[in-house]
Every structure is written in C-alpha cells, then in structure tokens.
Subunit: 260 residues, 2 copies
C-alpha cells in the first residue's frame, strides 16, 4: 500500500466550479489535497503566463474553512505559484487539473487552459493529469468526479503504472450514465478541427465588433483517437508532451540548402 | 520564377513593434504583404483565443496610409480574423509572425505568442513561419529583418523546399553582426527550462502581490538544439507541429490495465 499522495488541484473554470469542487471531495478520500486555481473562469487561455503584471491571490473559504488559494491569473500561473510558493513545503506526487466543463480533445487541446495547468505541473517535474467532461450542457459532476477519482487512484496505487517524466495524461470522460461507459481507451490527439468564422455586429454607436464562431469538422472515425473514443462512450486517456518538435519534418528539412 | 506570394504578417509585440514594421518593409520587396496584428504587446499569451468577449479591430495607419489591421486580442485571434475576415478574399501563401523581440527557443516555445500566431496559420492550412531575435536588449531590427526576409524568400522560391501540411517553422536569429552569423542549422526544441520563483511585495495598503521571476537552466550543449545553435551564432530553424501526442508514452501506457 502506498502512502497517501499529495495532490495539487487546479483548473481553468475557476475555484468555485463544481467540476473542481466535487473532484476535490472525491480525491480527499485517498489523498492530501491542496487547491490553487484561478479566481475566475479562464477558458481558451492556452498556455499563458502572467509576466507583465504581478499576481494577486486570496484565501478561498468553503463552509467557513480554508478550501484553497484563488489566483487572479491563468491556470499555468495558479499551478506555478501553488507549487513554488503557497505550498512550497509540500512534496507533490500529482497535479490534477479539472474536471473541466467541456471536452479537451483533438484541436481543442491546443487552446485548453485545463491541459495548460497539467502541462505546467509536468514542466515543474510533477506527474500531471488533466480531466474533462465532454459536454457543455448543464450537468451533475458527482458521478464524473467519482469516475475520475477512481481512475486517478489506480494510476497512483498501481505499481505497474508510472507516468514517465515529461508526459502528462489528458483524460476525457464521456457524458453518459456510469453503466453506459464501456471502459478506458488509450488514445492519440484527434485531427478534428474547427471551421471558424466571424459574426460581425454593430454596437449601439454603430461601431463593428466581431464574435468568433465555428463548427467542428469531424475527421476521426477510429477510437484510437480521443474524440472518437469519447463519442463511443469510452474514457479516453491521451499521453501528451510539450516537445513540439515535428521529428518527421526534421528529417526532411535537414536536406534543405538555405544560404544567408 | 514563382508568382509574388501573398503573406499575412502578425506578431505578439503589437502592430507598432519595429520588429514587425521592418520585416514588413523587407518582405514587400518580393511579396504582397497584409498585416493583422495585436493592438498591444501580448507576450507569453500562449495559444489563447478570445471566446467570451467579442474582438474589436482598427485600421492602423503609417505615414498616412493604411498599414494593416490592429486587433484587440491575442496573436492567434489576429491571424484567425485576418485570414477569415479582413483579408478573406486573399489566398495566402504564407503566414509570418515576428520578428519577436526575444528568443523563442526551448521551453519558451510553450508560452510564446509569436509561435502561437504561426501555429494558428498552420491550423488554417497555410504554411507558417515564426521569427524571433534572441535578445531582450535594445536593438536595431534592420539587419535581422533583411536576414529573415532572405531566408523566407528562399523558402518560398526554392522548389526543393516545401513546408509539409501541419508543420510550422520556428526561426531564431542570433543577436550578432551579419558577418558573424555562421549559417542555418535545422534544430530540435531544446530541453532548457526556467527555474521559477515568486518575489513577494506589499502594496502601499499592506496587501501582498507576487512577481514571477526565474533563471534559465541550460540543458542543451549540442547545436542540434535550437538554444545551443543560436548561442553558437547559427540561425536555428525548428519544425514544430501541434500534435501533442507523446507517441513513445502511448506505446507504454497502452499496456496499463485501468478498471472503471
């Protein structure tokens, strides 16, 4: 039996999001949990950090007790300052980001604040996991929190499972009844993408403003890809890393002759 | 001889940054250049997009003539709205982001707005190039702009050079006299990273605020890595992609047995 792990929990939906609060409740059943999360909703912030302004942070209470630190910053800011400052005396075993309200599959991973928090944990040398629920509808996070916690607990307790240095796990949970979920699939980032456009409107003074809008172009049929796996009611686990080098292209462009 | 290419130029330092303005001047010598860039400095924004608020944009004049569109948004926002809305009738051959004032090598790539603009171009199906100058000191961008333009022109005109779909080129130019630059190296993203800490200060009302600060931990000795190549006065070109799947880990974790 392993020791109780120390887990830092963050997200991009903000410290008051039910996805985070219910996940914390479940994780506390087997772990020491510390929370450092953005004060406000931070979706689609990508892997931003705050360098031109200082950060502010507040103690966040729940039922009259200290629940965690709320940071006026991005998800990556929250993980950095949680690990390096507020809880600097804790040796963290895991960083968990989520549960996000909405899928982080395929191209969405690129824009994801939830994944960004887990990426920052990985950069800091801590095994890290992002968890998202694949729906934007109003939803009860109790069952997804139980499922996420069960998966995370196995990852922690099973000695045959080790997250290698530099890898983070991106977990997406389908929006289905627990008894309809078929199991876990290890997946790759899908190729589906958004076909975007801009919706132009005029403000009351007649000046234009522009809303980004778009529809997903579905390119992944096989459940070896994250988006297809969750659509088929599997929990998808995709290993990600932050070495963006395109090694296939590297071999090819090494033949180029560019003069200066 | 190829046609004149249509190039969209963006950046993260804002439309008035000399790095962008001098690059545009050079690119105009062989290309039709369109500019759509953030209104203000946007460094370390990662791959953010604006989805909760609408965008505003303004015509930006230079010497009394229309220079380009300035967008109140992130680098990725600027590229999206430039390609899909303001210049939607133009068939773009290249998106170029830069010249950034500061290196985008090793871990910095993860946080880079400059790289993010080029990533967005790639997502939109346009061959894309990010260009950075590896210094934060005050600098004259005239020579770097000439060098960057010469490299970009060769990439466009040489028929043996083709940027494959989904790949973007991340170019870093050393801060050296032109005659000291040794040539071009095709590189990989380095492993060097920041050792961060937070500097706590009290405001005049006695409330704490926190500045992110850090020093680079240098882990790359070989010039096959971007940061080492530019330190050795080579121009580094690193092919990047936005498939974040860690394929090595994928094989390994496919053996895990996780129950739900």
């Amino acid at each position: 039996m392993k020791n109780k792990p120390n887990i830092l929990v963050s997200n991009d939906d903000g410290i008051e999001a039910p996805g985070l609060q219910l996940l914390v409740e479940e994780l506390k059943k087997f772990a020491n949990v510390y929370v450092c999360a953005p004060y406000r909703q931070q979706s689609a912030v990508g892997h931003s950090i705050t360098i031109f302004y200082p950060l502010r942070a507040y103690e966040h209470l729940k039922d009259g007790e200290l629940f965690g630190m709320a940071v006026e910053g991005t998800p990556a800011d929250a993980v950095k300052i949680g690990v390096l400052f507020f809880f600097k005396d804790v040796k963290f075993d895991l960083v968990v980001s989520g549960i996000n309200h909405g899928a982080n599959t395929a191209i969405n991973i690129i824009y994801s604040g939830t994944v960004s928090a887990a990426t920052e944990g990985t950069i800091l040398g801590i095994p890290s996991i992002a968890v998202s629920l694949t729906t934007f509808s109003k939803v009860d996070f109790r069952e997804p929190a139980k499922i996420a916690s069960k998966v995370i607990r196995q990852i922690w307790e099973d000695d045959s499972i080790k997250i290698s240095k530099g890898t983070l796990l991106n977990i997406n949970i389908p929006n289905a009844e627990a008894n309809q979920i078929k199991g876990v699939k290890i997946t790759k980032q899908g190729k589906s993408y958004w076909e975007d456009s801009f919706d132009v409107r005029a403000d009351p003074n007649g000046r234009d403003y522009y809303w980004l809008t778009g529809k997903m172009v579905y390119k992944d049929e096989s459940t070896e890809y994250d988006i297809a796996a969750v659509n088929d009611n599997y929990i998808s686990i995709t290993p990600l890393h932050f070495d963006l080098t395109d090694y296939a292209a590297y071999e090819e462009i090494n033949k180029w002759k560019i003069k200066i």
